[in-house]
């Protein structure tokens, strides 16, 4: 699984980097960014799904099946 952020939708609410600081960080203006290439380490899939489900702007995309 991989996570992606649609930067056109992200408004910097920060739910992703609050809930999954291992997967997401923020830039100098507070917008979310994916750490590394966005690959979700094994065992963190549920956490990744939680960030997508909590993003108020629905800016997080989960790409299933990739490792």
């Amino acid at each position: 699984m991989k996570v992606k952020i649609d930067s056109k939708s992200c408004q910097g609410h920060g739910r992703c980097y609050d809930l999954a600081p291992g997967l997401f960080g923020d830039d100098e203006e507070g917008y979310g960014r994916v750490l590394g290439d966005g690959t979700v380490p094994p065992g963190q899939e549920q956490n990744a799904r939680l960030t997508a489900a909590n993003c108020p702007e629905q800016a997080i995309e989960l790409v299933e099946g990739l490792r």
Binding site: Q11, D26, G30, N54, P56
Partner: protein, 401 residues
């Protein structure tokens, strides 16, 4: 006000709305999802999450030129900046005006204020020693955002009580005569201009100094832009967080199971805070309709208000399971308490930090508390809703380490 009148003649200034708006909003959502009133020169009240979100995202048809509903609409030539950029700004001006402020309001910037905020919360509680009853809205919640925002702007902390009057006039005084409002508002702008002068002659490390030196397109900001933004930060930063802290404590005073659970498991607090923000979202925004149009069956006229009720969106059962229940470990919580789209609350990270400090300190010092007198609890009417008087009967922990 009868049920029918809420659909055709609503007022968010009505005491019934102030004391409990949720049954009214739930009823409207089912019967008349875009309510209307002739008051305020014409206003609409959508209550479905999807309608509220659509309007928040649609800056083509809805303007932010004014965001506090009253009988008065500011002149159209105030656009694109509006009186208090960037909250009153529309695209494309909005983007750069907001960009200037974003770095000062990141999560990291808010975290830097956390130790001092925690200390402030504990010192407020220290001052309650010997009291069995504490007004948690007036004597606790109120002071936390006032002091935090005064610190960020670099205003003297002893001026904080004056901010209360400024805020009250702006947000709760909307039904007063316009001339009286203007006189009161001029006191705020007089204060802010004096602060600008003081910071020009004695620059320091704070947001006021930053704003007076900031540039857009290679030019310093116009003085009305600087003062308008300062007014925004002062007003938007205080009532909102004060309300959120107060409403959370009100809930915990009434729900001992939730209170005990958080006392026993403080790690759950961030999740619970999101649920308090969903269920008791303090802020209702507003927009102005740009042109006459039919929108989802409503015949909207240019300069009609839209009351953008994020609290109503947050209780839409189409969006949230058990929307009317407060579930402090709700894991999936896509609430809109901080708004949606380009005007997402600039201070949301600061607000979350303040909520964490305020509730964390309170629960550590007062693991037991109840409403001292439910009839004495009062709620602000208008677009920012929260307790303004909240007498709690408290039982302190025996010793403070």
């Amino acid at each position: 006000m009868t049920s029918d009148r809420w659909a055709t003649d609503f007022s968010h200034l009505d005491p019934e709305w102030a004391s409990d708006p949720y049954p009214i909003q739930d009823d409207l959502r089912e019967r008349c999802p875009i309510a209307h009133t002739q008051r305020f020169g014409g206003a609409w009240l959508p209550t479905l999450y999807e309608d509220i979100a659509e309007i928040a995202y649609d800056t083509e048809h809805f303007s932010s030129r004014a965001i506090i509903v009253s009988d008065f609409r500011p002149p159209r030539d105030l656009a694109p900046a509006g009186g208090s950029p960037p909250i009153t700004s529309d695209p494309p001006f909005h983007r750069d005006a907001r960009k200037l402020l974003l770095p000062a309001f990141t999560k990291a910037a808010a975290s830097k204020q956390e130790p001092a905020t925690m200390e402030l919360c504990h010192s407020l509680i220290d001052a309650f020693e010997g009291q069995d009853i504490v007004d948690a809205a007036r004597d606790y919640a109120q002071h936390i955002p006032m002091r935090v925002i005064a610190g960020i702007l670099g205003f003297p902390p002893e001026d904080a009580p004056r901010f209360r009057e400024f805020v009250k006039n702006t947000l709760e005084g909307v039904s007063r005569p316009r001339e009286e409002r203007l006189t009161r508002m001029s006191a705020l702008f007089h204060y802010l201009r004096a602060q600008v002068q003081d910071h020009l002659s004695t620059p320091r490390e704070d947001l006021t100094t930053y704003l007076v030196n900031a540039e857009l397109d290679g030019r310093k900001l116009d003085p009305p832009h600087v003062v308008g933004t300062m007014a925004l930060l002062l007003i938007a930063g205080i009532d909102t967080t004060w309300s959120a802290i107060g409403a959370s404590l009100w809930h915990l005073a009434k729900n001992p199971e939730d209170r005990r659970r958080l006392v026993g498991d403080p790690g759950l607090l961030p999740t619970a805070i999101e649920e308090f923000l969903r269920a008791y979202a303090p802020v209702t925004m507003a927009r102005l309709v740009k042109q006459d149009m039919h929108w989802h069956g409503a015949a909207m006229k240019a300069d009609d208000w839209i009351l953008l009720s994020y609290p109503a969106a947050n209780r839409d059962p189409a969006q949230f399971d058990r929307a009317d229940e407060v579930i402090i470990d709700r894991a999936v919580n896509r609430h809109a308490a901080f708004g949606l789209g380009i005007h997402r609350c600039l201070g949301s990270h600061l607000a979350r930090m303040e909520l964490q400090a305020a509730l964390g300190a309170w629960l550590a010092r007062y693991p037991e508390f109840t409403l001292a007198d439910p009839a004495a609890v009062t709620w602000a009417a208008g677009q920012v809703r929260g307790p303004r008087s909240l007498p709690l009967r408290v039982t302190p922990t025996m010793t403070v380490p």
